[in-house]
């Protein structure tokens, strides 16, 4: 999957040098971070063998509530954030209870959730869009640092591309090494990509999630129960509790993502905000190696999967083929999944052949 990511990046960079513009890279990083938070949440649910189709609606509801509580009830932002995240977590509890205690199917429950939450979002917002997040913009846009990335200017200025030299605008700083007199003497060989807070959020959440999944008893139980619920239950794992917790993690992270998205986008339109985001999150998790049959998945995979989707989307925009956007994204996911499947088969076949050869040798 990492390979796929790199391929997409390189191809885009070569043919559309503007892709590696620091600002553009910063954008991609920011979006990846935001979507990644969502993806990590849904990964937990997918690992238990469940699904959450209501993330998009959850985003809308959280966004609307967030805006409305701040504006209408004059809650301080911090309190509003806590409130909406608590609410989203509670909704996860409800899902979990319905799924474990009433034995309803996750698909059905979260499908209803999708509809209900969207409806509540519209009711909350009362038919108009919700805003007023701009004062919190620093949570997303504060530039706390930047990293140097080599070669960017070269690619950017077309040295490496098949395209003609693109005359740069004179007022754009940073690309050229200047001599003392301020004249251009050559291209810098690196450029600064600015970093914004979302990457920190993602990093923190991803690290915590990865630890939770791989190093704790909780994670172990989660995987066991995702693969074979009965076995886990017979071994004394509190399967119901685990499932409920995983839904709570998912909706909680969806709540966090909802807050971040609404701050980032700045306005929440209750009827369209977050439409189909659940599909993006699920697609990212699947691309990242989570199996919808449960029991498998890695956090770093999810992050890479999200990055693929974001880079792809940006790349499509660079190529100006927005009309095909969905088709390309869908196609890439499909190809990724097919390639994965084929690779797995080839490996299995090769291993079988090797083992056969080994056996032959042993017996000979």
């Amino acid at each position: 999957m990492l390979i796929l990511l790199i391929v997409i990046c390189v191809v885009t960079a070569v043919f559309r040098p503007r892709f590696v513009e620091p600002g553009n890279l910063a954008n991609i990083i920011r979006w990846t971070s935001l979507y990644g938070v969502m993806g990590i949440g849904v990964a937990f649910v997918i690992i238990t063998g469940g699904i959450d189709l209501s993330i998009g609606s959850m985003l809308a509801l959280v966004g609307c509530l967030f805006g409305v509580t701040m504006a209408q009830y004059n809650l301080p932002p911090a309190a509003a954030i806590c409130l909406v995240i608590a609410m989203s977590t509670l909704l996860g509890l409800v899902y979990g209870l319905l799924i474990t205690k009433l034995k309803l199917q996750p698909f059905v429950v979260t499908l209803c959730g999708l509809l209900i939450l969207r409806g509540l979002a519209r009711a909350t917002a009362g038919g108009s869009s919700v805003g007023g997040f701009s004062k919190l913009g620093y949570l997303i846009n504060y530039e706390w640092g930047s990293v140097p990335v080599p070669f960017l200017p070269w690619i950017n200025e077309g040295y490496w591309s098949f395209h003609k030299w693109i005359p740069s605008r004179g007022d754009q700083p940073g690309h050229f090494a200047l001599n003392d007199a301020g004249e251009r003497i050559g291209l810098d060989w690196y450029d600064w990509v600015p970093l914004h807070p979302p990457i920190i959020y993602l990093a923190v959440i991803a690290v915590v999630a990865a630890i939770l999944l791989n190093w704790t008893v909780f994670g172990r139980h989660l995987k066991a129960l995702g693969k074979n619920e009965q076995a886990a239950r017979y071994s004394g794992v509190r399967t119901d509790t685990m499932v409920i917790i995983s839904y709570m993690i998912c909706t909680c992270l969806a709540g966090v993502a909802g807050v971040l998205f609404s701050i980032d986008i700045g306005s929440v339109m209750p009827s369209t905000f977050g439409n189909f985001y659940e599909l993006y999150a699920i697609a990212a998790a699947v691309l990242g190696g989570c199996s919808l049959r449960g029991g498998e998945g890695s956090i770093i995979g999810v992050v890479i999967g999200t990055a693929i989707l974001r880079v792809l989307q940006n790349s499509i925009e660079m190529w100006s083929i927005q009309e095909l956007e969905f088709a390309v994204v869908g196609g890439v996911i499909l190809i990724g999944v097919i390639a994965d499947e084929i690779a797995r088969r080839i490996i299995a076949a090769r291993r079988a052949r090797q083992e056969a050869a080994l056996l032959e040798k042993q017996t000979a």
């Binding site: 503007r18 513009e21 701040m70 038919g127 108009s128 869009s129 919700v130 306005s267």
Partner: protein, 357 residues
């Protein structure tokens, strides 16, 4: 009676535009507005809304469709219900089927904007601004492009014009000045608010203007009409070598920061829908409110004896929908034109009148 709710959100978000909150049905004199229904931009929803309204209000006299796709869906719904004689239809925008309906006498009339001019003028002004030339902008920072009223008599001619535009063969409109300097190529962007035939006309205008002003213009129609898509586009343009941007903000108040950021980097103007609180240089477009009032006048003509009116729009979250609908309602309720729309508006309205007659 929630269906209306173009109430402005106390958070001071959108929903402004001078719209008061209405409690439907509202009655004034002969006219009663029974409902204002939105469909989130879904055509199927639009048709269902129209059908439901016909059933729900047995005494409906007039149906008004304010987004381009509304009048044709209303027409079909009315036809199917066999109520063409009972219900008059008044439209907005120049959907081909709307025009056909007018020709056939099934639709009473429509008020059209001139998106072709939006596109053309945007490129004209932006390329001049980018090259550092002077542009005549009125005090109000609003350049009105007059709307037109289409009735059966001028529908055929207008339809022909539209077809010509769509084929890319429309003659270029008159330029403001004829001494533009067009040596340096400029790179511009034209951002609309959704995918619609309406915006195709605007794009034609842009394309028509590109060679004349030696500009290359990236036109983007956000497919699901979301603020997010607009944001992504603008952010991309910020990192591009784009020098001028004309946009139709979907959610002006909450996009303020974004638009102001764009203003720092390039020349920004608004078209179709304004964002007056930002640093955008000026606004080109129809006065949506006044166009709404023109629709209201058409309604009055259509049902001179008064009656029940239902209004259909796409996204009530959008300013143009709010302005148009409040224009219609205010006209029917004989409210005065709020001062903020009166600026430069009278002249525009008169221009519209004279053009259509």
């Amino acid at each position: 009676a929630i269906g209306c709710s173009s109430e402005s959100n106390p958070s001071g978000t959108s929903g402004g535009g001078g719209t008061a909150k209405y409690d439907f049905p509202v009655t004034h004199g002969k006219y009663t507005v029974v409902a204002l229904r939105s469909d989130s931009g879904n055509h199927d929803r639009a048709k269902q809304n129209a059908e439901a309204a016909i059933s729900k209000y047995p005494n409906l006299n007039c149906m008004v469709g304010l987004y381009a796709y509304n009048p044709p869906t209303i027409l079909r719904a009315v036809e199917n219900a066999g109520k063409l004689d009972d219900i008059k239809i008044v439209g907005f925008d120049e959907d081909i089927e709307t025009l056909k309906g007018i020709e056939e006498g099934k639709i009473f009339g429509t008020v059209v904007q001139q998106p072709f001019l939006f596109g053309f003028k945007s490129v004209e002004y932006l390329s001049a601004l980018v090259r550092g030339e002077e542009v005549d902008v009125p005090e109000s920072k609003i350049i009105y492009i007059p709307h037109r009223v289409i009735r059966p008599d001028n529908a055929a001619q207008f339809k022909a014009d539209i077809e010509q535009m769509m084929a890319g063969k429309a003659p270029a409109p008159k330029l403001e000045r004829d001494d533009y300097d067009t040596k340096e190529p400029v790179s511009l962007a034209f951002l609309t608010n959704t995918v619609d035939p309406f915006w195709d006309l605007a794009e034609q205008g842009v394309r028509c203007a590109e060679p004349i002003f030696n500009a290359s213009c990236d036109v983007y129609h956000p497919p699901t009409a979301s603020a997010e898509e607009q944001k992504r586009f603008i952010e991309r343009k910020l990192n591009d070598d784009c020098q001028g941007l004309a946009l139709s903000p979907i959610d002006k108040e909450n996009q303020q920061t974004l638009i102001n950021r764009a203003c720092e980097k390039m020349k920004v103007i608004c078209h179709d829908s304004d964002a007056p609180e930002t640093n955008r240089l000026f606004y080109i477009g129809t006065g949506n409110y006044l166009a709404g009032r023109a629709v209201g006048k058409l309604v009055k003509e259509a049902i001179p004896d008064g009656g029940e009116v239902a209004i259909f729009v796409g996204k009530l979250e959008q300013l143009n929908a709010q302005e148009r609908s409040s224009g219609v309602i205010d006209e029917l309720l004989d409210r005065p034109i709020p001062p903020e729309y009166a600026i430069g508006g009278d002249a525009a309205a008169e221009a519209a009148e004279s053009k259509s007659e």
